[in-house]
Symmetry: C2
Subunit: 375 residues, 2 copies
C-alpha cells in the first residue's frame, strides 16, 4: 500500500500534537493529508503551520467524501467520537480515536459494531499501553508469574487541576459539554491500564463520587471506587483533581506475591512457593512464605502517542496486530460509567452495565447542565 | 506511693510477656505481685517462672479481693475485658487493658462509664502510639503543618495468618470465641492509630468484608472500608490476613500536602502555599503549588509495651497524663463494629453507631457459631 493519507478531525491541543509529528515525517508510511475543524480560523492557522498543500474542511463529512484521506485521527469533543468514527467506517476509512471512546457505552457499543462490520483498522489512542512499566506488569500477570490475582489498588491522585483550568472553557467539566470529570477526562488511561494489565473487568462496582467538591464544577472531582472481580479478587481505584502533589501508585497482589508501580519503578515481591501452597503445607503458628524482593528490568524507552499511531499505520499497511484495538475502548468507559451509576444510585452496579439506565440518568444531568451546546 | 503491685489476668502469650518485664524489674515503681488464670497448670508454671512469692488465683474475683494487688493488667479473652475491668473499678483497682477494649461498643461504653465513676487509672495497651513514626504524624497534623485533612488511606495487609494458626485453638476466628477476625484481632492498633493521628472519627462508613474467603474460618479475613469524615474528608482502610508479603502504607493528604508512612519511613511532601490558596490565586491552565519533599527527623527509639505500662504506673504514682486513656479504646472498636454492621447490612452505617443493632446482629452470629464456649 502507498503512504496512508491521514486526516485529523479537530485541530485543538491534541489534534495539533498529532498533526505535528505526522507532518514532520515521524510516522513511517504515513502523511498528513487533511484537517477538519468547525473553526475557519483554526483551518487557516493549520495551513500556515503545515503547508498550503494541506486539505482543509469545515465538516467531517466533507473531508471523508473528498477522497483525500485513507484514515482519520479523531480529536474532537468526547460526545462526537462515536458518530465521527461511524461516518468513517461507513466509507471504509480507518480510524484512530482519542480517548475516551465516547461518553456512554451505549453509543460506543454501536460504534464497535459498526467497526466490526466495516473491516477497517480501528484503534484507540491508549498511548500509556506503550509505557514499559505497565507492559511489564501485564507480562508478569499474563505469563502467570504473579499467579491468580487477589487484589488491585490504584491511587491516581496526581491529576491536579485548578479552578482556572476549569474556567478556561465553558464546556469544561459540565455534563453537557464533556459528559464527566476526572474519570472521563483525566483517568481514561488508568482505567484502561487497570483492566488491560489484570486482564479482567469487575463483576460489580460500588463507587463514591463527589461532584464539585473542591472546584466550582458540575462533575466529579473526587472518586473512590471498590470493585469485585469474577475470580473473587477485590480492587480499589482512587482519584481526584484537587490534591497536590498527588500520588500515582498501582499495587497488584496475587497468589505468588505483590507488584507495585510507583515513582517510575516496578518492584516484584515474589513468593518462593505460592501462598495457597504454603498455607496448605505449613503447620506452625506465625510463619509465612519465603519472599524475594526482585529487581525486574524495565526498559525506559517510552514512545507514547507516536508508537500508537505508527502501530495503527503499520496495521493498515501490513496487518500487524493493534496495541490498542478500538473495540477495547468500551472497557475503561464501562468502568467510569459504572462508577457514576453507583454514585448516582448510591448502590451496587453489576456488570454488564445497564446501559439504558446509565444513559437515562446521564441525560437528566445533561438536560439541567449549565452548559448548553449549540447542537 | 509505694511500688504498685500488679496482677496479671490471664497468663497466656501476652500475659506472660508483660509478666516477664514487670518481674524483671523493667518498670520503675512496680512489681509483679499476682497472676490469675483458669488453668491450674498455667499457675504452677507461673510460680516456676516468676518465683514462689507470686500469688496465684483461679479467678479474677479472688485476686481482686485478696488485697495483694493495686492494679491489674487484663490479658484474658476479648469478650471478658469489660467485665473484668468493671470488677476492678468497683474495688478501686487500676486497670491496664489489652486490646481490643471489648467486642462490642455497648459493653465498652458501660466499662468507660464505670471507669469514670471510679476515678482509678484506666489505660489501653495501645503500644503502637509510642512508635515515633505515628507520633510524628500526629504532631504534624495537630500542629497544623499538614492543614485540614483531605484524605486518609491505610493499606495494612501484612497480617499474614495461615490456616494452621487458626486451627491452633478452637475459639480462634469464631464469633463466639473471639467475636471477630482481622479487624478485631490483628487491626486494633491500626484502627486506633488511624483515628488518633487524624484526630477524628468518620461520620459514616461503607465497608466490604469477606468472611472465611481464604481460610476455613467464620469471621472476616479481608476488608475494604470507605469512610467519610465530618469535615468532608474521605478515607480507605484495607486489610487481610491472606496476603504475603503484604503492605503497611499509610497516606494522609491535607491542604498543605501529603504524608506517607511506609517501610519504616515518614515522608512529608509540603506545599509552599496551601492548595486552596494556590487555587484561588492561580490564573494559568496546568500549574500546581510548589512542593518540597521534606526529610522530617523521626526518632528510631520505640519502647512498645513497656512504655505504656511504665506510663500507666507513673500515672498511678504521680498523676502524669496517660498516653492511651482506657476510654479511648471505644474509638477504634467503633470503627470495626461499624465495618461489620455495614458489611452485614450491605449499606451505609452512620456514626454514632447504632449499638443495639450491632449487638443484636453479633448475637445472631454467636448463636450459630461453631465454637460453643462453656460459659
Amino acid at each position: 500500500m502507498n503512504r496512508v493519507r491521514i486526516g485529523i478531525v479537530g485541530i485543538g491541543n491534541m489534534g495539533t500534537a498529532h498533526a505535528r509529528y505526522v507532518s514532520g515525517g515521524e510516522i513511517n508510511g504515513a502523511e498528513l493529508a487533511a484537517v477538519c475543524d468547525i473553526s475557519a480560523d483554526r483551518l487557516r492557522w493549520a495551513k500556515e503551520q503545515f503547508g498550503e498543500a494541506l486539505h482543509t474542511f469545515e465538516s467531517v463529512d466533507a473531508m471523508l467524501d473528498s477522497g483525500t484521506v485513507d484514515a482519520i485521527l479523531i480529536c474532537n469533543l468526547h460526545f462526537d467520537h462515536p458518530s465521527t468514527a461511524m461516518k468513517a467506517f461507513a466509507r471504509g476509512i480507518h480510524v484512530l480515536c482519542e480517548k475516551p471512546a465516547g461518553v456512554y457505552t451505549k453509543q460506543v457499543r454501536e460504534m464497535n459494531e459498526a467497526a466490526a462490520a466495516s473491516g477497517v483498522k480501528f484503534a484507540m489512542m491508549f498511548n500509556q499501553r506503550t509505557i514499559p512499566l505497565y507492559k511489564k506488569l501485564k507480562d508478569l500477570i499474563d505469563s502467570g508469574e504473579l499467579g491468580e490475582i487477589r487484589r488491585t489498588n490504584w491511587i491516581i491522585t496526581n491529576w491536579y487541576r485548578s479552578q482556572s483550568y476549569y474556567d478556561s472553557g465553558k464546556w469544561r467539566a459540565t455534563w453537557a459539554g464533556e459528559g464527566g470529570g476526572v474519570l472521563l477526562n483525566q483517568c481514561p488511561h488508568q482505567l484502561d491500564l487497570w483492566q488491560w494489565t489484570v486482564g479482567m473487568l469487575p463483576s460489580r462496582v460500588r463507587a463514591f463520587c463527589s461532584f464539585g467538591k473542591y472546584r466550582d464544577i458540575e462533575v466529579e472531582d473526587e472518586v473512590t471506587a471498590y470493585v469485585e472481580y469474577p475470580n473473587g479478587a477485590t480492587g480499589v481505584f482512587i482519584t481526584t483533581t484537587a490534591e497536590a502533589p498527588g500520588t500515582n501508585r498501582l499495587e497488584v497482589t496475587g497468589e505468588r506475591g505483590k507488584i507495585v508501580i510507583e515513582d517510575g519503578k516496578l518492584t516484584f515481591w515474589r513468593l518462593r512457593v505460592s501462598e495457597p501452597e504454603f498455607n496448605q503445607t505449613f503447620k506452625g503458628a506465625f510463619g509465612q512464605p519465603e519472599c524475594w524482593k526482585c529487581d525486574v528490568p524495565v526498559s525506559t524507552d517510552s514512545k507514547a502517542h507516536k508508537a500508537i499511531t505508527q502501530n495503527w499505520v503499520d496495521s493498515i499497511r501490513t496487518g500487524v496486530n493493534l496495541i490498542a484495538p478500538g473495540e477495547e475502548g468500551i472497557r475503561g468507559l464501562t468502568l467510569s460509567n459504572a462508577m457514576y451509576l453507583s454514585a448516582w444510585t448510591d448502590g451496587w452496579v453489576e456488570l454488564p452495565l445497564d446501559e439504558d439506565r446509565f444513559h437515562e440518568l446521564l441525560q437528566e444531568r445533561i438536560a439541567t447542565s449549565r452548559y448548553q451546546s449549540n447542537t
